[in-house]
Amino acid sequence: MSSREVRSIGVAGWGRTLGAAVISLIYFFPVLFIILAAFKTRADVLAWPIKFVFTPTLSNFVSVFFRVAVEGGQAEATGFGLYFFNSLFIGGSSVLLALIIGTSAAYGFSRFPLRGNDTYLFMILTTRMMPPIIAIIPIFVLFNIFGLSGTYVGIIALYTAFNLPFSIWMVKSFFDDLDRDIEDAARMDGSSEWRVFRKVCLPQIYAGLAATFVFAIILTWNEFVFALLLTGTQTRTVPVQIVRAIGGAMGADWGLLSALETLFIIPVVLVTFALQNQLLRGVTFGTIRR
């Protein structure tokens, strides 16, 4: 028995745990600040030094949905519900579409390589190498010609196209890491090629698909430039609305903005939280030899 306590590997001491907590807090602080500000009155938001203890109010959240244009007048809806729905609907369906198309493509690239397979893959990736802003003018023109501006179809198609390269590459890497013997075993066990894909390959990469879904949904959820130019009043997404809310006759209403952002963060947090186990497995996929 040694007098010095020996800590087993894999258990962090109190000191390190505390250190990690402090660092996490520093990184989390901006988010925390926004969430706190969402519950503050206009005066509290602007108070210096920053108030951590205050009387919370829900007025900011109310004004996210209802706005009083004239003092004492009728409250009118801000349309935030619609924008929120738009963000969910446009983001969700474009990411799902990209995932479905991307998974099919990835399986094809991985298992049935074409002549010049790598060239195709590289070209697919090049579409993501330039800043989106460069593509905006031709896309804007195209959208006007085909009447896609301000439509769901237009923006969903665009987001799908933008999520595809990333989805193909990521999902392909998951397929590449699978043990081919397992597929051969399935063939010997009587599976058709379709069932090898559907019953054997796909279930093995569910974690990877979840990870891809989360990364793509975060990118799409936060997308601003295309949404600003290509959505109309009916298809506007939350990021556009947030920016519109910054202006105003009385200067920026930080409380209102914070409330908007707090609400905006929730779906992503929920999705990530729900998929966190899958996500961890997904990003570490194939790094450990089984």
């Binding site: 051969d184 075993a185 399935a186 063939r187 010997m188 066990d189 569910y206």
Partner: protein
């Protein structure tokens, strides 16, 4: 179902994995394919199974050319070296998979999976995923998945390689039992381990660089290898291969080794085509050398012991014979205990167990029949 393979060829880029393999396996036979890694064992099995398309040659199953028969209709099952269990499915679902793909009714699936699980002692693991099974259980699950369909041909690709030594021993016996119980199922068993091949196969085909070198019963492979490669592959510890030269003197021909001489008479016919001075390779089984009690009956030599490996029942001795020839011998413990490193011992050799090979080609020069009898 009997299996016949003729002139089977398969190429992967620059590598010719199978270079014209011809084999016949009888229905119900336990046929072992022995070869070092990279010899083409796996490719051969995969081509028979239909996972790989051959570049040339034929595979006949039950007398039928299966070139155009899809994998799933070949009535063949395979156990992969990696086991290749479906990681997302429980043991039950793994075992049930082939049956479900064949649209066997659920009740029947349940019954047959139960049967196989019972036979392979997997019943307690049915609800668990492969990752939580032990190595032995994973392997039995892989075998069970292959057997559940009652295939007529069972291909086993190094099924014991990923198991520990104790488990390997038990499983060897298990395979023999299984083969007996299955009756008519033909088994082709690929392994790099001579012990597995010899102990289980009723016949063994030795594969070297995509070619079959010899097909024989295990005992024949050991006593009459067709070439030096087979000789060195079969037997443990491996055979001693030492250089020798054919000599001519007045009385007859002799084979001179660095440390002893041999009468060439038993190989008279085989050596007839060779002239004096021809270089040969002489194979001495470690089991065919022992310390001479007194006289050495014609073949013997003196040697210095430089390494002993006691294994409990036997001891492996590494000795240095005259002319710096390193030789291995195996002795029962009771003969070995008094021998120590650096001792000089007299050794006797059992001439009947000596194998002779041509220097260049390694082809065996078999002794003449009449003389061996005498």
């Amino acid at each position: 179902m009997d299996l016949a393979v003729s002139d089977l060829r398969k190429r992967f880029g620059a590598v010719e994995a199978l270079q014209g393999i011809t084999l016949e396996v009888q229905s119900g036979e336990f046929f072992a394919i022995l070869g070092p890694s990279g010899a083409g064992k796996t490719t051969l099995l995969r081509t028979i199974a239909g996972i790989e398309r051959p570049d040339g040659g034929r595979v006949m199953l039950g007398g039928r050319n299966v070139a155009d028969v899809p994998v799933r209709d070949r009535n063949t099952a395979m156990v992969f070296q990696t086991f290749a269990l479906y990681p997302h499915l429980s043991t039950f679902d793994n075992l049930a998979y082939p049956l479900r793909e064949a649209r066997v009714p659920a009740a029947e699936v349940k019954r047959r999976v139960g049967e196989v699980a019972e036979m392979l002692r997997l019943t307690h693991t049915l609800a668990r995923k492969p990752a939580t099974l032990s190595g032995g259980e994973q392997q039995r699950c892989a075998i069970g998945r292959a057997l559940v369909r009652r295939p007529q041909l069972l291909l086993l690709d190094e099924p014991l390689t990923n198991l520990d030594a104790k488990l390997r021993h038990d499983t060897r016996a298990e395979f023999k039992r299984l083969h007996r119980e299955l009756g008519s199922t033909t088994i082709v068993y690929a392994t790099p381990d001579q012990l597995e091949a010899l102990s289980m196969g009723s016949r063994v085909g030795v594969l070297r660089q995509g070619r079959i070198v010899q097909v024989d019963a295990p005992a024949t492979l050991y006593t009459k290898p067709d070439d030096a490669f087979v000789a060195s592959l079969v037997g443990d510890p491996p055979i001693n291969l030492v250089p020798g030269t054919l000599h001519e003197d007045g009385g007859g021909r002799r084979i001179e080794l660095d440390f002893m001489g041999l009468d060439a008479q038993p190989w008279r016919k085989a050596l007839a085509a060779f002239s004096a001075g021809t270089r040969l390779r002489v194979g001495l089984r470690p089991q065919a050398i022992w310390p001479a009690a007194g006289e050495t009956q014609g073949a013997g030599f003196g040697a210095r012991v430089f390494l002993t490996e006691p294994l409990g029942d036997v001891t492996i001795l590494d000795v240095m014979a005259h002319g710096d020839t390193r030789l291995r011998m195996v002795l029962p413990q009771e003969q070995a205990w008094q021998i120590a490193v650096d001792d000089t011992i007299e050794c006797a050799v059992d001439v009947d167990q000596i194998c002779l090979f041509a220097e260049e080609s390694g082809v065996a020069l078999h002794r003449d029949r009449a003389e061996t009898a005498g």
